[in-house]
């Protein structure tokens, strides 16, 4: 079953497939990002891959020379015989963008949101790319390899008026004291 499946994709998109393998029994094709939507339409409508499984990305910064940095990885499954396929596409640094799959699979919407906030990959056509797991003020893309694991985020103001909660006399703030936490105040 497996080889036939990859063969069918290769026959239909001879120009789009960059690489295919069946390492550890996982059928995998890497395609050109321009044909992303076309390949998935074919997979869903002709090969009956109806079950959405997973979407994620991998950052290969400094690991594989000569290939673009990011890789978007999608896993699909079909209900009729349980066949599975992994489809990948490479995206280059500097504004990585790819077509959204929300028109084909409903489950893509949130996974693309997560992938967007974690890697900064733009999914063209996904109308809702607000942060999902992170908060809106978060700076940077945490799962990129050049985001240090111990990086700290800027503090965000508390809800409501900052001044009202911690009134700051002009003379103390000049010395960088926060009166709310200063020890001198207790004396």
């Amino acid at each position: 079953m497996s080889k036939e499946l990859l063969q069918k994709v290769l026959e239909r998109f001879p120009e789009a497939v960059e690489e295919s393998h069946s390492l550890h029994g996982d059928e995998t094709v890497r395609i050109k990002p321009e044909r992303w939507l076309a390949v998935f339409s074919f997979l869903r409508d002709h090969l009956e891959f109806d079950h959405w499984i997973d979407l994620t990305a991998v950052d290969y910064l400094g690991r594989e020379q000569g290939l673009p940095r990011y890789e978007v990885v999608v896993h699909l499954r079909r209900m009729k015989d349980g066949g599975r396929i992994r489809v990948k596409a490479r995206l280059s640094e500097g504004g990585p963008a790819i077509d959204s799959l929300t028109s084909l699979y409903k489950g893509a919407a949130w996974m693309e949101r997560e992938c967007h906030e974690m890697y900064g990959i733009v999914f063209k056509g996904n109308a809702d790319l607000r942060p999902l797991l992170l908060y809106p003020e978060f700076k940077g893309y945490p799962l990129r390899k050049d985001y240090p694991i111990d990086k700290r985020q800027p503090r965000i103001p508390l809800l409501g008026s900052e001044e009202r909660r911690f009134p700051k006399p002009a003379d103390e703030t000049a010395h960088g004291h926060d009166p709310a936490f200063s020890r001198e105040k207790k004396q």
Binding site: H24, D50, H51, I53, D54, T56, K106, G107, M111, L132
Partner: protein, 397 residues
Amino acid sequence: MELEDKKDLESDLLEVMLGPSHPATHGTIQMRLKLDGEKVVFCDVEPGYLHRGFEKECEDHRWNQIFPYTDRLNYVSPIINNVGFAMAVEKLCDIEVPVRCQYLRVMLSEMTRITDHLTCLAAVVMELGAFTAFLYFVKARELYYNLLESVTGARLTYSWLRVGGARWDLPDGFTAKAKAAIPETRRILREIDGLFTKNRIFMDRVVNIGVISREDAISYGITGPFLRSTGVGYDVRKAHPYLVYNEFDFEIPTGQNGDSYDRYSVRMREMEQSLRIIEQAITKLPAGPVSIDDSRFTLPDKEAVYNSIEGTINHFKLVFDDIHPPPGEAYAYVEGGNGELGFYVVSDGGNKPVKCRCRPPCFPIMSAVGGIIVGHMLADIIAIFGSVNMIGGEMDR
């Protein structure tokens, strides 16, 4: 005159923030609702309050150090998470674990599946007002927590598996205790069944509430009891048998309507199937080692560590340098409490993963829940959200 009357009745939509720490939702999640009277007309689900950066932490830790993190993904069925991650790395390394270990993994997975379902249903019925029944569920759960504690030493975060096997074997007398726990669980489940399955008050709250169609569920990528409640008999244990699941005789219960009641009923019936698997596993349990005999993956015996230079070096290498899976990628999946739990791992041949993605089963479900809730009453949210069994640790990672 009539027009003016109508004008008085009309009002703006009421915006309500349900959560992130609402007593009737187990798990920190926020729902931004717009209500027309008591009817929900808009629902925006905002998860992320429990985000700990699981994937980032994995990329900074060695392979065997990740097991404690997987415990904390779904903390009501940690063994299944351990199994999922171990299987992904073993797939990468082309390891087949010993048969006894496979049986143990299956047996303990099924025990944690029971605790998972019990916790979910306990929370559902408690949030719907039946606090006493919650204690019945917890009583049954306690049996398995005690059993698992006797094996792993922990009650909640087991970290019992390793790549290539398990940390240690079962303690003496475990199978006898497990055998005794099964009829006790059945008795408690019968009591619960009598309390709820045909209970008018319970049924009024859950029948035809939170219905999802089969096509939608598949397109959203929903798996597990949520998908099976719509009548699709997809269970990883049957569709893609892993470990030794093909040696057991069990059924996949399904529902028909895809409503909250069917999800309750599927979970109730699945626990009985899990009990059957545990019974068979106890009878068939073969003797043998629990870890593979390969010094690249398994720690040597303490005797060898203290008495031979090879053993010392081997121990040192594994503790300080850990395993080195060959370069490549692998996706392994198991049937978790909520559905297909997958791990996609990428290795460059080093002792840390390049990527370790967890495909949490309740993530696709939660992406669908916002749409399911719209059109229901405010109070129905509790029944719908409860039947999802959202686990914050797994959802937000």
